[in-house]
């Protein structure tokens, strides 16, 4: 019945969906932002601690969401740790292209190691109504980096 669903719900997504990494509040965060997807009621709060050079020292999140948005947020916090703001923004652009089209034209010949890790989420592009689940965390990341308080993926 669901044989062909493994393209969307790959094991790594189910795993991160069930047991999200960095799922906690950072009390001493330098940046926080809230993300809302009013369509499906998903919401998350993102916390960033910045290193003296402005790069992301630590990233964590809390909230409620479907497997895809939770897994995406979980994978994101892992991926952006240690990155500069510019690098994180670039990853965000690349990831959103991947989620919307299934591929990433700006990524060059080979995917970066980071994009390889996010690759399992690319199946979402076949489900237009779910793309926003996958991108919510990244919208929120942009908002946090830009100093905004809220992001919406409506």
């Amino acid at each position: 019945m669901f044989d062909d669903l493994r393209d969307l719900y790959q094991e790594v997504i189910l795993d991160h969906g069930r047991r999200p990494r960095n799922f906690r509040r950072l009390e001493d965060a330098d940046r926080t932002a809230r993300g809302d997807n009013p369509m499906c009621g998903d919401r998350l709060e993102l916390f960033l601690k910045l290193a003296p050079d402005g790069s992301i020292a630590e990233a964590a999140f809390q909230g409620r969401g479907c497997a895809i948005s939770t897994a995406s947020a979980s994978l994101m916090t892992e991926t952006v740790t240690g990155k500069s703001a510019a690098q994180a923004h670039a990853l965000s652009d690349q990831f959103r292209a991947l989620a919307m089209t299934g591929s990433c034209p700006d990524c060059g010949e080979a995917l970066s190691e980071e994009m390889e890790r996010l690759q399992p989420l690319s199946g979402v592009h076949e489900f237009p109504s779910r793309v926003k689940c996958a991108t919510l965390a990244w919208h929120t990341l942009n908002a946090a980096l830009d100093g905004a308080k809220e992001a919406s993926s409506e």
Binding site: F2, L5, R18, C40, G41, A67, F127
Partner: protein, 409 residues
């Protein structure tokens, strides 16, 4: 006429489709129903052979289109047992019908200091217009009747909120689009009228599932929408007593709703034209007429009986599923089921079901306060039936839910 679901299904071209290689199991009729070929063909015939703008046209095609448009009004009137076709106002959808009452009757007749009483189980279409009226600062209060844990309207709370006589309008759903609950309409009419209030029903769901009788019901306003009644999008109905229409200022201004216009002065056309500004949904009225003929030929009582069997069957099958929590279990209910499944978020579940060819809706179904009331802010999955739904489809849904739970476990 006996109810032959296989023959009925053959009337719906879309039900012959495969979705992702699987037969379509369409369980989202509560959001919008599919259209039988009779409706599609009526619209095509109108556009191919009998089309022109209605009213004011003194030539053959315009007379034919006008006749068809007014015949649709008469068909709606018969369908809901209205006393007079002029009680039927065509709008764009239910939402526009309710907004018409809120704008026109709400601002023109309801007085500062009066209140509107809605319930916790309203669709946003019957909540937001009244919130907007409240928030205009004209001194209109909004009261909200509670829903019980069983998902029924709390009639004691309704009574309590009516006692001070300040409620000018009760605006309440006739059937919840989430809980499936059918409200005790006759009783609510008596309660409202005894308290000096008028009463409007949001019949968007109810009108599709059972016979509706405006003369027996005795309400003041009743709204429903074409696309849920197997008819086209772009058309809705407000039934309103003529005495109310007379007192209501118009909502939108334009052509066909006036009887005289000078630069200084306007005289309104008599009801219902007063409320139908501009070119109406002509082809859509013809389509709605065909839809009404279609369900009437089958018979609303037969449709209701079919649905009762389906509801009983679904109750049994769904309650067998481990971890499934149904929202509401009212005594009197129609074929709409909202539920959550432990282990699986509503949206993941809907996507999984979609892969199996099953169309269900996930979210809060335009009833956020109701989801808050039941502590399911993250949303539910909703399966809703139409006259073409079969027990086999319900079984297939149950099987898919069981497998989905295992998938996410």
């Amino acid at each position: 006429m006996s109810f032959d679901v296989a023959r009925i299904r053959a009337d719906f071209p879309i039900l012959q489709r495969k979705i992702r290689g699987k037969p379509l199991v369409f369980l989202d009729s509560g959001a919008s129903a599919q259209k039988p070929r009779q409706v599609i063909e009526a619209m095509v015939r109108c556009m191919e052979a009998r089309y022109a703008n209605v009213h004011r046209g003194a030539y053959f095609l315009s007379e034919a289109a006008t006749e068809a448009y007014e015949a649709a009004r008469a068909a709606v009137a018969r369908f809901i047992h209205a006393g007079d076709p002029r009680e039927v106002i065509f709008t764009g959808n239910s939402t526009a019908a309710i907004n018409l009452v809120a704008h026109s009757w709400g601002r023109g007749v309801l007085q500062p200091g009066q209140a509107v009483l809605v319930s916790e189980m309203e669709h946003h279409a019957n909540l937001v217009p009244w919130q907007m009226l409240r928030d205009e600062g004209r001194g209109i209060e909004l009261r909200v009747a509670r829903v019980t844990d069983a998902g029924e309207l709390d009639l004691e709370d309704v009574a309590a909120k009516l006692t001070d006589g300040k409620v000018g309008l009760v605006a309440i759903t006739h059937m919840s689009n989430v809980l499936g609950t059918v409200t005790p309409a006759e009783r609510l009419v008596r309660m409202a009228h005894a308290a000096g209030a008028k009463i409007l029903f949001d019949g968007s769901q109810a009108a599709v599932h059972r016979p509706i009788d405006m003369q027996a019901l005795g309400a003041d306003f009743y709204a429903f929408t074409g696309h849920k009644l197997y008819g086209p999008t772009g058309i809705g109905v407000l039934w309103a007593r003529l005495e109310h229409q007379e007192r209501m200022p118009p909502f939108m201004g334009g052509g066909d709703m006036i009887s005289l216009v000078t630069l200084d002065r306007v005289e309104w056309a008599p009801p219902p034209a007063k409320f139908e500004a501009g070119t109406p949904p002509i082809v859509e009225a013809v389509g709605l007429h065909a839809a009404i003929d279609y369900v009437s030929a089958i018979g609303m009582p037969a449709i209701e009986a079919h649905e009762r069997r389906l509801v009983d069957h679904a109750m049994r099958r769904l309650s067998d599923i481990e971890g499934l929590a149904l929202l509401g279990h009212a005594q009197d209910r129609g074929g709409v089921f909202a539920f959550s499944l432990d282990k699986a978020h509503a949206h993941d579940l809907a996507t999984l079901l979609d892969r199996a060819g099953i169309a269900v809706r996930a979210g809060r179904h335009c009833a956020e306060p109701l989801h808050a009331r039941f502590g399911v802010e993250a949303g539910t999955v909703r399966a809703s039936f139409g006259l073409y739904t079969t027990e086999g489809e319900v079984d297939y849904l149950a099987e898919a839910l069981t497998k989905a739970r295992a998938f996410f476990a």
